[in-house]
């Protein structure tokens, strides 16, 4: 009896060891590991799947959150990290990292008001800031009525809904309010989670979407795809040029296209409140963070090849999932930055 058990254990052990060896051998050449932001996860996993079908290279992307992604790449436990908020140039320098944008998306404002259809309600930056500061508390406030002369707005309490978890979406949204409202800047500021003056917190985009859909008179912010999937009532927002724009792939692209990336060292550039008549004001890029010094040139090149493929061949897939691919001039800037920054033993990895 005992002999049989021992035999079984031995066989199991041998199988486990050989399995482990196989895994390691495989990992050295053909597997890339990444971790970070949840916002781009749907498109990254789609790209990873397609790239694997074409080339056989396996990409594991763990959507553990931007903070986790940054921590993991600093600790060198992954090949690349992903973050919705760019690292500052000083941060990048201190850790020997470099970053570049890979995909663009938009944050939209959603409301739950009976009789109001998607795209009907207009909001100005001041209105949005004052609602989220808790200074405007009723939907029939004269300030809202003034911007929306044709709409019937009831005497209803405004319930503000925000993200409860730390998130890149909140970072973008508060970054926008920070830029357009001096009061927001002094009272609240920009971060992945902030001390909200008013409102309820939902967990994740689905949590915010759920709260907004259930509370009559609610207003919240979600990623564009969530608003579309849940058929939510999104609002128009006045941009820097003074025009009211509707959230769409076109208006996100306009914001990205009008941005001045050339003069942004380390691609530290936030796409909120961009100039241009068609620009959606709360647009943001999601970033990839890698080490400048790659220990294995071949492995580093494999990784950059994947990103290059995403930038050059992934546009259709991105649009299907309501993301915006990077404009062409930006793709070239990104690849040029690889040439200049990413090295292995002093030699450039990408050429």
């Amino acid at each position: 009896m005992i002999k049989i058990v021992i035999k079984g254990l031995l066989v199991g052990l041998i199988m486990a060891i050989s399995g482990l060896l196989g895994e390691v051998g495989f990992a050295q050449s053909k597997t890339l590991n990444g971790a970070g932001a949840t916002f781009p996860y749907p498109i990254y996993s789609q790209w990873a799947y397609q790239y694997n079908q074409i080339t056989g290279v396996k990409i594991n992307y763990q959507s553990i959150g931007s903070g986790g992604g940054i921590a993991q790449i600093k600790a060198k436990t992954v090949d690349f990290g992903a973050s919705d908020a760019p690292l500052t140039v000083e941060d990048l320098k201190a850790e020997g990292l470099t970053q570049f944008p890979l995909i663009i998306g938009g944050v939209v404002i959603v409301v739950n008001l009976s009789d109001i259809k998607p795209g009907q309600l207009k909001l100005t930056p001041e209105l949005l800031a004052n609602i989220f500061l808790g200074k405007i508390t009723k939907w029939n406030d004269p300030a809202i009525a003034k911007v929306n002369p044709g709409l019937k707005l009831a005497n209803k309490d405004i319930t503000v809904v925000h993200r409860a978890d730390g998130s890149g979406t909140t970072w973008l949204f508060t970054n926008y309010l920070d830029k357009v409202s001096p009061e927001w800047h002094t009272k609240v500021g920009t971060d992945k989670s902030v001390a909200w003056p008013v409102g309820l917190g939902g967990k994740g985009n689905e949590g915010v979407a759920g709260y907004v859909q259930q509370i009559n008179g609610a207003i919240g912010y979600v990623e564009f795809a969530y608003a579309l999937q849940n058929k939510m009532t999104y609002t128009l927002l006045q941009n820097r040029a003074g025009k009211f724009v509707s959230p769409s792939i076109e208006s996100f692209s306009a914001a990205a296209g009008n941005a001045d990336w050339k003069n942004a060292p380390g691609f530290y550039h936030v796409l909120t409140d961009q100039p241009g008549d068609d620009s959606w004001p709360i647009t943001g890029a999601s970033f990839i963070i890698i080490h400048k010094e790659q220990p294995d040139a071949e492995h580093g090149r494999e990784m950059l090849k994947f990103f290059s493929w995403c930038l050059r061949n992934g546009a259709e897939e991105a649009k299907k999932l309501q993301y915006v691919p990077l404009p062409k001039n930006l793709v070239e800037l990104v690849e040029a930055s690889w040439k200049a920054e990413v090295k292995s033993g002093g030699k450039p990895v990408w050429n």
Partner: protein
Amino acid sequence: MLSLRNSRWQRRTDFIFRILTVLCASVIAFVLVLIIYELFVNSGPSFKKFGLRFLVSSIWNPVTGEFGALSSIFGTIVSTIIAMALAVPLAIVTALFLTELVSPAISKLVGIGIELLAAVPSIIYGMWGLFVFAPFMSNHIQPALARWFGFLPLFSGPPMGIGMLTAGIILALMVVPFICAVTRDVFLMVPSVIKESAFGMGATTWEVTSKVTIRYGLQGIIGACFLGLGRAIGETMAVTFVIGNDHNISASLFSAGNSIASTLANEFSEASDPLYLSSLVELGLTLFLITIVIQSLAWVWLRRMKRKMRVTL
């Protein structure tokens, strides 16, 4: 010869078994010590910066790096009190019904149902709470409470369907099966001889229940309640879905709040700043200490209770 070998073999297995049990038991103790150690070490930076102010400040501002646990502690305690106030009577009455008043066949059927409820994952309660129960609260229960008891600050404010009260009720639903299942087993263990003697002396069902069954099973009932309390106080996902997640202390049960566990679930993954992370760990340590305090109070109370009632259980 054979018996000699046997006894030696038996002694050896006894020895091995003993080592095995000691090892397993010490693993548990070791893990506990490690957890406490890690919590203390990692909450160091936060403790150094805020000291005891951490426990009495309700400011939670990741932007300026000001952290205080008061609103989370408040939410944890209030939601747990609501849950226990609703769950304990309901569970005990149900357990009595199952053991004293219905036929064994029905009792068994309902009993299986309760055990199934106890096995439902908390995320299911959370989703159900958010999508089904919260609208029901907002449309029916909260307006009714506001109409009748609106003069109390407890039931003031807009009926959003999400908030402290909803979280408390969901928690109650989650812990009822636990308390009920254990209480039922406790009642079943009351020797029927004792109950039968009481009945024989002419006691009514109510008298037997209150003076014999409940009294006999008191320690077990309290144990069951603390099992439920343990689940309610640390429950994370279901609460996170319905509590509203606002760092806010309000007298109204309709308003949004947060609990220690929900704050951890929400904010841990994106906390990259060391002080922020350390404050979250200290929040976890606080929950740990609250649990220890409650357990010790329960222990002391139980001992006094036993002495007072002169029952040897």
